[in-house]
């Protein structure tokens, strides 16, 4: 789907997990970019119909890239920069609250 250009400036490798699976990203990248670059196209299903969605605008407009980051649901993956050890989970429908 997407690949990094071969001759990029060196950026530190950042390790995160997506639904428990380890992926590698580069420092400075957004979570959405990291997902797309590791082949994850579908990041959630909608709370309305359950349809699959992936990042669309990459600039914080469409809210289609919503994922759970370190336990916090519905964050815009395209607006959050990756960090080492980050735990990303794809959203399945509406978020939950645990009373």
């Amino acid at each position: 789907m997407f690949a990094r250009l071969p001759d990029l400036k060196e950026r530190a490798v950042v390790r995160l997990t997506v639904d428990g699976r380890a992926i590698e990203a580069r420092a400075g990248e957004s979570v959405a970019a990291a997902l797309l670059l590791s082949g994850v196209l579908v990041v959630r299903t909608t709370p309305v119909s359950g349809a699959p969605r992936g990042p669309f605008c990459m600039m914080g407009v469409c809210f289609d890239c919503l994922v759970s980051i370190d336990g916090e649901p519905n964050r815009q993956a395209c607006m959050v920069t990756v960090r080492d050890g980050m735990q990303v989970e794809r959203m399945q429908g509406a978020r939950k609250v645990d009373p």
Binding site: F2, L5, G28, L41, P55, F56
Partner: protein, 470 residues
């Protein structure tokens, strides 16, 4: 960040905001620049300080012009609040800012909104499928991650940005399988009147021609496309399109859509600035005076958020708005302001030359603005165009009643993406101009923030009375 008073709050860190903030700070004003991005630059100069793209030719000279703007901003002494969302501005010019999950009010004496542009929605059937993105998204991936698509890529739509990305991909060695150009043939005739002025604007000519040529040499371009469908189960598999009565289909892994950019007006609308329908740019623009002041006291709007003018114009408009803020705050006299504004005004005139030609030439076709019955208009709430037309038949006159009936515009994007589509669809169904139909009433917060964050904001005796019930 304390809640003390500052002189100027600039919202948005693209060329307009960077130039405005630098100008204010250089004039000796305490200036904060609030920007949602992690690093300065806005959309055109996205990630300019930290892009991994090493080969400067790939992103092109226009991109690297941003370095000087960012450097000037960083020298100016303006404070940069990065990854910070301005989600409201009160009538007393308290800017509600959310950073890292906490919100504060920043009291300013003047506010300059430089919120920039969004890509115009292109609601073709299937555009919600994973694998369909925007041209701008493709460009952001390139600028900030050095990422290029790897499968079969189709670009579709119209406007200079579409060809810019094609050229950037080509220079990066990435392949684009097909460009579907939806520019209506009739546009050229309408735009022709403004061609001489466009030709005089040397930079545009050079850029336009270069883009077209470099794109044409490498990619198949189909012109006159009048309908597009993104197809696939759960993911994009192919693109169907219609050209001169012929239906065709190509397989695709990635479809990037684009049909121009429009002002990002959610904040200016939420705080009550008057907006008017721009019949040529086909969008809402804030009503401004000669110094970019909006109809809400103390607030000016600069850059593409004030009407699309491009990056060069954005920076000049930022400077002009900043000079007037300095005059309001007493550090410049009227005469000094006028004198200093002469240069930016002349540069703005140059930058705007040829703009009408582009607006008319690339005006997207009605069929791509007012979607087919089965196309999703509101992505958040999954409302299709047919539902909107059915409600017009019930007598629904505009987007606010429509929102009540269908929930379009009620999702987390709060109508950013569907606003124009819904207004234009209602207008077409009613047979009236979009200006008569109006826009969603936008309310704070202009992006979702947590209840806990709001709960910690300051309260008052009156508020306690208004809420607590025995």
């Amino acid at each position: 960040m304390r809640d003390s008073m500052i002189d100027v709050a600039v919202i948005g860190g693209g060329p307009a905001g960077l130039a405005a903030a630098a100008t204010c700070a250089e004039a000796g004003l305490t200036t904060y620049l609030i920007d949602e991005q992690a690093s300065p630059g806005g959309q055109i100069y996205r990630a300019i300080a930290d892009t991994p793209v090493a080969d400067r030719a790939i992103l092109g000279a226009d991109y690297w012009r941003g370095e000087a703007l960012v450097a000037a901003f960083q020298r100016s002494g303006a404070v940069h609040l990065a990854s910070a969302l301005a989600w409201d501005v009160t009538p007393d010019l308290e800017v509600a800012v959310s950073v890292g999950g906490g919100s504060r009010f920043l009291r300013a004496r003047r506010v300059i909104i430089a919120s920039g542009a969004l890509e115009r929605p292109m609601p073709v059937p299937g555009w919600t499928l994973p694998g369909v993105m925007t041209v701008g998204a493709g460009q952001i991936l390139l600028k900030s991650s050095g990422a290029v698509p790897s499968g079969r890529v189709v670009l579709a739509g119209c406007g200079p940005l579409l060809y810019l990305l094609a050229a950037q991909y080509r220079r990066a060695g990435a392949e684009v399988a097909l460009i579907l150009d939806t520019t209506p043939a009739a546009n050229f005739k309408r735009a022709l009147r403004h061609l001489p002025e466009f030709l005089l604007a040397g930079s545009y000519l050079a850029k336009g021609a270069e883009l077209l040529l470099s794109a044409q040499r490498s990619v198949e371009i189909v012109r006159g496309v009048d309908s597009i469908v993104a197809a696939g189960e759960g993911q994009l598999r192919s693109v169907r399109y219609n050209v001169r009565g012929q239906e065709r289909e190509v397989s695709a892994d990635l479809l990037l859509l684009h049909q121009g950019v429009v002002p990002n007006v959610n904040l200016s609308m939420a705080i009550g600035c008057a907006h008017d329908w721009d019949g040529e740019q086909l969008c809402w623009s804030p009503r401004l005076d000669a110094w970019s002041n909006a109809t809400v006291g103390g607030v000016a709007i600069a850059g593409d958020g004030a009407g699309i003018g491009g990056a060069a114009a954005a920076a000049e408009r930022g400077r002009i708005a900043a000079l007037d803020a300095a005059r309001h705050l007493g550090v410049l006299s009227e005469a000094q302001r006028d004198l200093r504004a002469a240069g930016p005004r002349a540069a703005l005139r140059r930058a705007m030359r040829g703009r009408r030609f582009l607006d008319l030439l690339y005006a997207p076709a009605p069929s791509f603005r007012v979607p087919a019955d089965n196309a999703v208009a509101c992505r958040c709430e999954e409302v299709v165009a047919r539902q909107i037309r059915d409600c017009v038949a019930l007598g629904v006159p505009g987007p606010n009643q429509m929102k009540s009936f269908l929930r379009c515009g009620m999702g987390p994007c709060q109508g950013r993406l569907c606003g124009l589509t819904v207004t234009e669809t209602i207008a077409a169904a009613r047979g009236v101009a979009p200006g008569m139909v109006g826009h969603y009433r936008i309310r704070p917060p202009i992006k979702p923030i947590t209840l806990g964050e709001i709960a910690l904001l300051p309260k008052s005796e009156a508020a306690i009375k208004a809420v607590a019930r025995g």
